[in-house]
């Protein structure tokens, strides 16, 4: 009897294992008449309805469409891990296009009417970052449908609209409230763009170059990067001063930036549309103010010893102005190719983008979306904060550039090789790195800052710390 039971148990185990193995390794593709679309979690319901409407209006389309909500930040990773199990159409931030194209996870888009639509609807800045190469030929890979940029949320109860226009105004409000003026949602390379990409208000100028002229087709050329200009040095010095001020800048607390806003630890935060619900929860709808990233005026101390900048120059905080794009899975059956392109064309059309803003607050990517946004507010279709969010984001996009990472390597070098940590060390005036081969013993002096900026540039270009600091520092790392 005992043996019988043991045998049965063993059989059960084997069966279970076989079942597991079958399920995991199968990677079953959807049926050919089915199309699966992955969009952001917050928009799944809306896009399902939009797709259902499309299928109902086009009985000859011949496919059923299932929309699934995903964490869009993680989609690129999910797709690269197992593209054969991914959706036919998926959504990613545009900076993933290079990696997804190089690993054959995405298929080029060749439908001429769709290409025409992309060219006609989107700003030139987006057009530069949605192409990639395949076997030496350049193709359109991503179709923009949501735009994203950083702007500022602030506490209307403690900060006036005028104070919110400049970092100095915010500091004044913070002094009155006995707290810090402003924080950020993270210290990564995306969020620190408010400092690094700050531009002079008078002419929108900055000397910062990030992978300018990079080309995925010519063996993944990294182009030119530069961040050692006098303006960048002055901005770092100004931010050092501002962060050291008891009523100036602070990094987000260990409890999260929401806690800072809620507990009055900071009066404002630089964030994006995806932080809207959290910011509203922290400050309440009535106290939630939305504005452009403020301006700041370079002080005499910040400009000391620098020739290309002068005290009194006004700069505005910058941003990466990005887009989310639809891509087509390379593993999808070729028989669906035409239908997938038709569907992408529909989903990225101005009409669906507009509806998407009304339903899910996704700010449209097309040129001239601000008119529609305004008409929505005038018509009472959105609240004031929802209107401001879209307005300020669209406006901020003019002060920024899209993330210029045409290949996966550039993306990793920029974000994951510690360049953001160098900037943070400089703002905090701490040594960098704390242990290791090449040490910047202090980041307070002009020499320390120049070394730090050179190191950042070197990390962007080479993905590792420089072996030493030549004297004088090379103009190009």
């Amino acid at each position: 009897m005992k043996k019988l039971i043991s045998l049965l148990l063993a059989a059960c185990m084997v069966l279970t294992l076989t079942a597991c193995g079958g399920g995991g390794g199968g990677g079953k593709k959807p049926e050919d008449t089915k199309i699966v679309v992955w969009v952001g979690e917050e928009s799944a319901e809306f896009y399902q309805k939009a797709c259902d409407d499309y299928v109902a209006a086009h009985p000859d389309f011949g496919y059923t469409i299932t929309v699934k909500g995903m964490d869009t930040g993680a989609v690129a990773g999910t797709v690269t891990n197992d593209p054969s199990a991914a959706a036919d159409i998926f959504t990613v931030a545009h900076d993933n296009i290079g990696k997804l194209a190089a690993t054959q996870c995405a298929k080029p888009i060749t439908d001429e009417s769709l290409i025409r639509q992309v060219k006609a609807d989107n700003p030139a800045s987006f057009q530069n970052v949605i192409y990639s190469s395949l076997n030496g030929q350049t193709y359109l890979y991503g179709v923009p449908y949501i735009s994203q940029a950083l702007f500022m949320y602030y506490n209307k109860d403690k900060v006036t609209e005028q104070q919110a226009e400049s970092f100095e105004g915010l500091r004044e409000a913070a002094k009155a409230a006995g707290t810090k003026a402003i924080t950020v949602t993270g210290d990564d390379g995306f969020n620190n763009s408010f400092a690094l990409l700050a531009t002079r208000v008078s002419d929108h100028a900055t000397t910062v170059k990030i992978y300018q002229g990079a080309d995925a087709a010519s063996g993944g050329s990294k182009g030119t990067s530069y961040c050692q200009g006098d303006d960048t040095v002055a901005i770092v010095r100004w931010l050092q001063e501002y962060a050291a001020d008891p009523n100036g800048f602070k990094w987000a607390s260990s409890d999260g930036w929401e806690a800072d806003l809620k507990n009055g630890g900071a009066l404002a935060v630089i964030g994006g549309a995806w932080h809207y619900n959290s910011a509203k929860a922290a400050l309440s709808e009535t106290n939630l103010g939305i504005a452009l990233i403020p301006t700041f005026t370079l002080t005499a101390a910040a400009c000391e010893g620098l020739s290309d900048v002068k005290a009194g120059d006004v700069y505005r905080g910058g941003t990466f102005a990005d887009c989310k794009v639809f891509m087509i899975n390379a593993h999808s059956d070729a028989s669906k190719y035409a239908a997938l392109q038709t569907l992408v064309k529909y989903l990225s059309s101005k009409e669906v983008q507009n509806e998407s803003y009304l339903n899910c607050l996704n700010v449209p990517a097309y040129v001239g979306a601000s008119e529609f946004i305004k008409s929505c507010f005038d018509g009472g279709k959105v609240t004031e904060s929802q209107y401001m969010l879209a307005c300020k984001q669209v406006e901020m996009a003019e002060w920024g550039i899209p993330q210029p990472f045409l290949t996966g390597t550039l993306n990793t070098y920029y974000y994951s090789k510690n360049a953001p940590a160098v900037l943070r060390a400089m703002i905090d005036k701490t040594a960098y790195p704390t242990t290791g081969d090449v040490i910047i013993s202090e980041t307070e002096s002009l020499e320390g800052i120049r070394k730090g900026l050179y190191m950042m540039e070197y990390l962007w270009m080479h993905g590792q710390n420089p072996k030493d600091f030549p004297s004088p520092l090379p103009v190009q790392a």
Partner: protein, 484 residues
């Protein structure tokens, strides 16, 4: 004395080569002495069984041989990656094609070689080849056994006899086979695959598994980087490996001992004679086990956070001017404080387990031992040192070792409390990072799968060595039979 010394190495040499020599001579003997069937079995599986009229057994062997040969020749493929001889050919990672042929009109797209699958399938194919040789040996010995049976006038065992035997005298084989197969498929093969990645250039930054820039083998270069600092993560590995390893040990020792002795003391207190409401106390402490660990840890993280109750209270009392970074979540926070805090917080989640186990052991210590000690006039401390502690330690040594190893790999506590912080500006591995949390950051955040595999292998070597040495030297192992 001298003669003993001389003998030792000599004996070792014999030990090493003797079995091999024996196997070769046995193999030859079997071929020479065996029947025609046994001789044929060296080329055709099951031929000997057919010769001895064991048709079912013979057919099974033959079918398996044909299946494996077909598998090797026809090279079935999954997702465009072949098994069989092609898998072995591809395993060198030098004959790959980048694919990506695309027809803009039809949308036909050819996916290139998949390096990850190629490595995996290569090892599966090697496993199949090993199985082939095992079957070869089994087929020959099965036939030879029948020869021997015939020689002594016994009827060769039929398939039914074998099956019956598998349920009787060889039942252990029946039971162990599924487990072994499962271990091979779900544990050993993936482990070999992961180990293999340590010898490649695979990282998600500039190398791909499909498409352009395919990764390739690079020998021991990743291991050398730990000492020389070459490669994209080389400097980090070189500068941070030893400090992280050192802290991993300190953490494991303190975390294990603090929970262990804390648990014993708590159990002693609760089991103290005359204490009322023992069950209530025991239940209260068990609650921390009932609450999922990650919830406890996140709750503590909030308690100790910048706006958490602890900091708010201290600020309100005027004891501190600004919040203390207890858990090292900011780069400038104190590393030592964070280290002390994680060890203390870990006691909260770890002590109840030891308490629960020790309670059971304490209740099992024969009361007459204490009785006898008391009669002999032993003090309470002496009784604890001479009876309770040895008894508890003897029983819990394997637990102690496993909890030490568990703490070396204690991902949750560190990751959820400090996230490895305070970060060392410029490096992934922060002040409280253990090897295992660093490994996570290196693979998930940096996408350096090869470097991650190297750290994983080192972690394994260290834990395995410590476990083996300590366990083999423990009383629980050496005096296993003497425990009563």
């Amino acid at each position: 004395m001298d003669s003993t010394l001389n003998k030792v190495p000599k004996k070792k040499t014999i030990d090493l080569f003797e079995p091999i020599g024996e196997a070769i001579s046995n193999f030859r003997k079997r071929f020479e002495d065996g029947s025609l069937g046994t001789k044929l079995s060296h080329f055709i599986f099951g031929a000997g069984n057919f010769y001895h009229k064991q048709y079912i057994k013979g057919a099974i062997f033959l079918l398996l041989q044909i299946a494996i040969i077909l598998f090797m020749v026809l090279c079935p493929s999954i997702n465009g990656t072949p098994y069989g001889w092609k898998a072995l050919y591809n395993l060198s990672l030098t004959h790959l094609h980048e694919g990506g042929d695309f027809d803009p009109m039809t949308g036909e797209f050819s996916i290139g070689s998949d390096c990850k699958l190629i490595i995996l399938f290569g090892f599966v194919t090697i496993a199949v080849i090993i199985i082939y040789f095992l079957l070869w040996g089994m087929s020959i010995s099965s036939s030879f056994k029948a020869d021997m049976d015939e020689k002594i006038g016994k009827k060769p065992t039929s398939f039914i006899d074998d099956l019956r035997e598998l349920l009787d005298s060889r039942f252990h084989i029946t039971m162990l086979t599924p487990t072994c197969i499962a271990a091979l498929v779900f544990t050993i093969l993936p482990t070999i695959f992961m180990i293999a990645l340590a010898f490649t250039t695979y990282n998600s930054q500039d190398m791909n598994d499909i498409g352009t820039n395919l990764f390739h083998w690079n020998g021991l270069q990743n291991f050398r980087a730990v000492f020389t600092g070459e490669g994209s993560l080389g400097v980090e590995i070189k500068n941070r490996f030893m400090p992280v390893l050192g802290w991993t040990f300190i953490w494991a020792i303190f975390a294990t001992l603090s929970c262990y002795f804390g648990g014993i003391i708590l159990a002693l207190l609760i089991n103290k004679k005359g204490l009322k409401g023992k069950k209530i106390f025991r239940t209260v402490f068990i609650f921390t086990i009932a609450v999922p660990q990650f919830i406890s840890l996140l709750a503590v993280r909030n308690l100790l956070g910048e706006y958490g109750p602890v900091n708010s209270m201290l600020v309100n009392l005027g004891w501190i001017a600004k919040p203390i970074g207890f858990l090292g979540l900011h780069p400038g926070d104190s590393e030592n404080l964070a280290k002390v805090m994680v060890i203390i917080v870990n006691m909260w989640v770890g002590i109840p387990y030891t308490m629960l186990m020790t309670s059971g052991i304490l209740m099992n210590i024969p009361a007459d031992l204490y009785e006898a000690a008391r009669v002999d006039g032993a003090s309470t401390v002496k009784m604890f040192m001479k009876i309770t502690l040895p008894y508890v330690i003897f029983v819990t040594t394997p637990y102690l070792i496993s909890s030490f190893v568990g703490n070396i790999n204690s991902f949750n506590t560190i990751f959820l409390l400090t996230g490895g912080g305070p970060t060392y500006t410029g490096y992934q591995a922060g002040g409280t990072d253990l090897l295992v949390t660093w490994l996570y950051k290196v693979t998930i955040d940096q996408g350096s799968y090869n470097t991650g595999a190297v750290i994983g292998i080192f972690t394994f070597l260290i834990t395995a060595t410590i476990t083996l040495i300590t366990y083999r030297r423990s009383k629980a192992y050496n005096e296993e039979d003497t425990f009563q």
